[in-house]
């Protein structure tokens, strides 16, 4: 008797699988915009430093975190793309999307916490 393990497929219909294709496209756009924001943030920081304000360093750090977030989002988008393209293993890729998103939101939380700290200081002083 052949060995039976847990199925690697979600057994989806082609129209159900389209969810993953759409998700991958939107995620790529989000990643692209995060890269754009990261670049703008770094430029803002550098300009501020050249104008004599060391507060620009914080913008560079935020830019770095945005860049990493964008990379994680791009990885999640790739997994979503595979979930659409490889029906036999779509379950693995679907859960990889969720795993990547958990990492993405951890980074975003760190970014939010840093932003909150900076803004709280700005409001108080």
């Amino acid at each position: 008797m052949p060995p039976t393990g847990p199925s690697l497929s979600l057994d989806l219909q082609p129209e159900q699988r389209k969810t993953f294709a759409g998700l991958a496209a939107q995620m790529k756009l989000v990643a692209f915009l995060l890269f754009a924001l990261a670049g703008l943030s770094v430029i803002l920081g550098i300009v501020q430093i050249f104008q004599g304000s060391w507060a620009g360093l914080l913008d560079i750090v935020i830019g770095g975190l945005l860049k990493v977030s964008g990379l994680v989002m791009l990885t999640a988008a790739t997994s979503a793309g595979y979930a659409n393209d490889v029906p036999d293993c779509d379950k693995i890729h679907a859960f990889n999307v969720l795993g990547d998103l958990a990492i993405f939101y951890k980074f975003q939380f760190g970014l939010g916490a840093l932003l909150t700290l900076i803004l709280a200081i700005k409001v108080l002083f």
Binding site: P6, S7, L10, D11, L12, Q16, T19, F20, G22, L23, Q26, M27, L29, V30, L33, L34, A36, L37, L40, S41, I43, L44, V47, Q48, Q51, A80, K91, A94, F95, V97, L98, G99, L101, A102, Y105, K106, Q108, F109, G112, A113, L115, T116, L119, A120, K122, V123
Partner: protein, 281 residues
């Protein structure tokens, strides 16, 4: 609801408990901001505003006690009070900007404070607190269920009603279970912290009379708020017995979220370009 997803009794009890906590948080925020406004008026020695502040605290205390009984009219009266306060706080913020950062213009909307910064901060925080309370009273299913239970009625079942369970349970490895459990939690935490950051940016923008910080703050707060949308569906996914239809619905919700996120991030990118241009001027 399929047996393959949750224990409905436990789920309902947890939701009612959450509703109670959220309502207490909303009511506490209302009392805190009303107390702060009365204190600011006292420091400013504005007799009329001190009286308004004391009356507001009394009304807020009375309404808080009344709504906790679950009485249906109490919710409507508190919603009306919340609407009035949102109108006053919003009017105060608009008046401040119309008067080019002069806090005296906010007195007619019930805000008297010693400095421009304090006045606009109080107005923005008041607006945020009452918007939060208004959201809880009008939109939150958990809070509505908490009030139903308090009034001695049965809570409505909270479930992804529009999604029919497929009955197909997706087997998950430990790593996948962790991912399912973590993504909703971290998304909720991120949404909440972005709302706080957005409100702080709005306050900073208002204090420095900078419209660009104001817009940036509003966009960040909206980004946080839309992030909370799919959290309900994601947190209802049971890692141990995962129905395929619910899993697909969660991915559909994520797709809708990223569509909105693209628009908001585009707005933030435009704000960043404007900031860069302003640095060179």
């Amino acid at each position: 609801m399929s047996a393959s997803t949750h224990d409905p009794a436990n789920e309902d009890s947890a939701q009612v408990d959450l509703g109670g906590r959220l309502l207490v948080l909303g009511l506490m925020l209302m009392l805190v901001i009303e107390s702060l406004l009365a204190t600011a008026a006292l420091i400013q020695l504005s007799f009329v505003h001190v009286v308004i502040g004391i009356v507001s605290i009394c009304v807020a205390l009375y309404l808080s006690n009344w709504i906790y009984t679950g009485d249906r009219p109490a919710r409507k009266v508190l919603l009306g009070w919340t609407g009035l306060q949102i109108f006053l706080a919003g009017g105060a913020v608009l008046a401040y900007f119309a008067a080019h950062g002069e806090h005296e213009s906010m007195r007619v909307f019930g805000i008297a404070a010693p400095t421009n910064g304090t006045a606009i901060s109080l107005a923005v925080v008041k607006l945020g607190c009452y918007l939060f309370l208004g959201y809880l009273l009008s939109q939150s299913a958990s809070v509505k269920n908490f009030l139903r239970v308090k009034a001695g009625r049965e809570p409505h079942a909270i479930e992804p009603a529009s999604i029919a369970p497929s009955g197909v349970v997706v087997a998950t490895a430990d790593k996948d279970k962790r991912a399912v459990a973590e993504v909703g939690t971290w998304m909720q935490a991120t949404g909440l912290i972005l709302i706080v950051a957005g409100l702080l940016s709005v306050i900073a923008g208002a204090r420095h009379a900078s419209r660009i910080y104001l817009i940036e703050g509003a966009l960040i707060a909206v980004l946080g708020a839309v992030m909370l949308g799919p959290v309900g569906v994601l947190r209802q996914l049971s890692p141990d017995q995962l129905d395929r239809a619910f899993l697909l619905s969660a991915f559909g919700q994520l797709k809708a979220l990223y569509k909105k996120q693209v628009a908001i991030l585009g707005g933030l990118a435009i704000v960043a370009v404007v900031m860069l241009v302003m640095l060179f001027r």
